[in-house]
Amino acid sequence: MSYYLLLSALLFAIGLYGVLSRRTAILIFMSIELMLNAANLALVAFARGSGNLEGQAMALVVIALAAAEVAVGLGIIVAVFRARSSTSVDDLAELRG
């Protein structure tokens, strides 16, 4: 069962690399989806390993959360594109901390 856990760790690392290296907001979002799915795979593998259904219920919660996140995130991307005609995260550097 630890094979799928390792696989989920690898998928999460690939998604992390995508978030750090991509420069378009939409592609960064896709990498975040990849990371959420890696977490789901780990939850399902844990559920299978321990014979407990709660892992799968948690994965369902994560899927619903990802759907809400995508709705709001893509709404923000569309609104930013209307204001700036660009979705490159480098063009959104006015807000400095």
């Binding site: 992390l16 690399y17 290296s21 990498s31 399902v44 919660v61």
Partner: protein, 185 residues
């Protein structure tokens, strides 16, 4: 480890790598759809049948179609945008991801089967047993998710609303303004 595990692992890693490296955003999205579909097959194999179908319907269906719609709506089908201001970010990101993978693998290395003697009672992960859990112990979490989805829907609609038009000026008011202007001359 069966042949299915190996093939699924190779397909998952290959499609994930394609999704984070391809230059064309539509191609990357399609690679991500492939990743989600293989992941659904893995769910079926891990006795999570309901979750597998939800993965296909919600992720590979609704979410990715939304992504592709937005990519095509914004003509944003390319990953290269202008000059790369953080050129060193790519190797640093790869190194950070590798370190993170090693840390996760180390954390997972201690996890074995939790109680190997108890027979697995997942019942295939069918909607029946899962629903008993969701509408019993997890009821308030399901309600909170309902609120979250409602708020997300409303905020998405508000965010993409076109600019609100200015209130229309009454004809009498515009007439009076015109007359005042003429008097002012």
């Amino acid at each position: 480890m069966s042949a299915f595990d190996l093939i699924a692992g190779v397909l998952l890693v290959a499609s994930a790598l394609a999704a984070v490296t391809l230059k064309n955003a539509v191609h990357a999205g399609l690679a991500l759809v492939g990743n989600f579909l293989v992941l659904a097959m893995v769910y079926f194999a891990l006795e999570a049948q309901f979750l597998g179908w939800i993965q296909i319907i919600v992720y590979a269906g609704a979410v990715m179609v939304l992504f592709l719609f937005v990519i095509m709506l914004l003509y944003d089908a390319k990953a290269d945008v202008g000059v790369d201001r953080l050129r060193w970010m790519r190797p640093v990101g790869a190194a950070l991801a590798a370190v993170f993978f090693l840390a996760l693998a180390y954390a997972f290395s201690g996890v074995g089967p939790v109680n190997p003697l108890a027979d697995v009672k997942l019942a295939g992960g069918l909607p029946g047993p899962l629903g008993k859990l969701l509408y019993g112990l997890w009821l308030y979490i399901v309600l909170l998710i309902a609120v979250l989805l409602f708020v997300a829907t409303v905020s998405a609609v508000v965010l993409v609303q076109p600019q609100t038009r200015k209130a229309r000026v009454k004809p009498q008011v515009s007439e009076r303004d015109r007359e005042l202007e003429e008097v002012g001359k």
